[in-house]
Symmetry: C2
Subunit: 211 residues, 2 copies
């Protein structure tokens, strides 16, 4: 299995602007990426990062610079893997803002027999997508990509496992998402939030606060 | 295993008021309850409903009327089960607004060996809580109850399994939660939303709309 992570640092995570400065958003995005890469490294999975805007990243991964759209760059990557590797490796597409990814998740996916494993994000997104044969599939992110990806698999008669994981559903788009990272996180991204003074109000309706 | 579901119908789900009338909120709450009970019935689990405000419910469950607070009524229930049943049954506390509960979830929980199984809700809640021995535990809902319940288990040297499930994390408190029900639901609650004209805008930022 080989993992690929699309990553964009510059002016990322704009929906977090109400609680984080531009610099903080970029730092958080980068730190979440390092958490995801570290988890994949622990599982001995080779990691490719498709980076937009940044050519050098201090992580244990192959950094491939790209400035095309998310779908185009990933579909080119899948085609390339299918064409240039015999046999092609199975591919795990992981979003860089899923910092609650654990080694157990990777093992669980690795042990599945289905052609496609898909872990939904909240709001119909696709946070983790495993593709057994990169020649057999193309991605269609944005919108309700979870439904789109299941539809693509059905059309191609591929078997699908819906990976029902709360941790994998937690991408960090909105301020309320940071609450999940504070409560459940154990990596460097949650430590960063705590260092910045974020905490969760624990009584009544839970909320995100900053000292 | 025996399941218990706290249920309040009157003026429930106030955070859904911006998209649902009082009558619709009550109807949705009741329909979600029937989905949860139907799933438990399919698994041959006996169901007790601790009902506030409504004495009669048309579901295949024992309805116990109560007007005390959530924590008090559940802790009284646990004490009662521990005192009057020899041996006491293991107890599964399920929130009534977790309509994506499936038979597979129940089987998975039933197969665990830990003393406590806890499925977090978003925002630090506890949506499903399995207690092997009702004499050994007390509940503490509201706020970050997920952390509180883990703390209680630790203090009592109980083993805990964190059930990492996206479907079980989806309680229906906010309008955005209804998006998950529309996308992932297969039961009568998702049908009801569709009958009322709700749909999900699928492109760009996903949103909840009504015809």
């Amino acid at each position: 299995m080989r993992a690929v992570i699309p990553f964009k640092k510059q002016n990322c995570k704009t929906r977090l602007s109400s609680v984080l400065s531009l610099r903080e958003r970029e730092q958080l995005a980068y730190t979440m990426l390092t958490d995801v890469v570290a988890t994949l490294n622990r599982c001995n999975v080779e990691v490719d990062i498709l980076s937009t805007g940044v050519k050098q990243l201090d992580v244990n991964a192959n950094v491939i610079y790209s400035d095309t759209s998310l779908n185009d760059v990933l579909n080119e990557y899948l085609s390339g893997m299918a064409s240039y590797h015999k046999p092609p490796p199975d591919i795990l597409i992981v979003m860089s803002d899923v910092p609650l990814l654990t080694a157990e998740h990777i093992t669980h996916i690795n042990n599945r027999d289905e052609d496609i494993v898909i872990a939904p994000g909240s709001g119909g997104g696709t946070n983790v997508l495993y593709i057994k044969n990169p020649a057999s599939f193309h991605v269609d992110y944005y919108g309700t990509s979870f439904l789109d990806h299941i539809g693509i698999a059905m059309k191609r008669n591929l078997t699908v496992y819906m990976y029902d994981s709360f941790y994998l559903s937690c991408d960090m788009d909105e301020p309320s998402d940071l609450i999940e990272l504070l409560i459940h996180g154990t990596g460097s991204a949650s430590q960063l939030l705590k260092k910045w003074g974020f905490y969760v109000l624990k009584d009544g309706v839970v909320g995100l606060y900053r000292k």
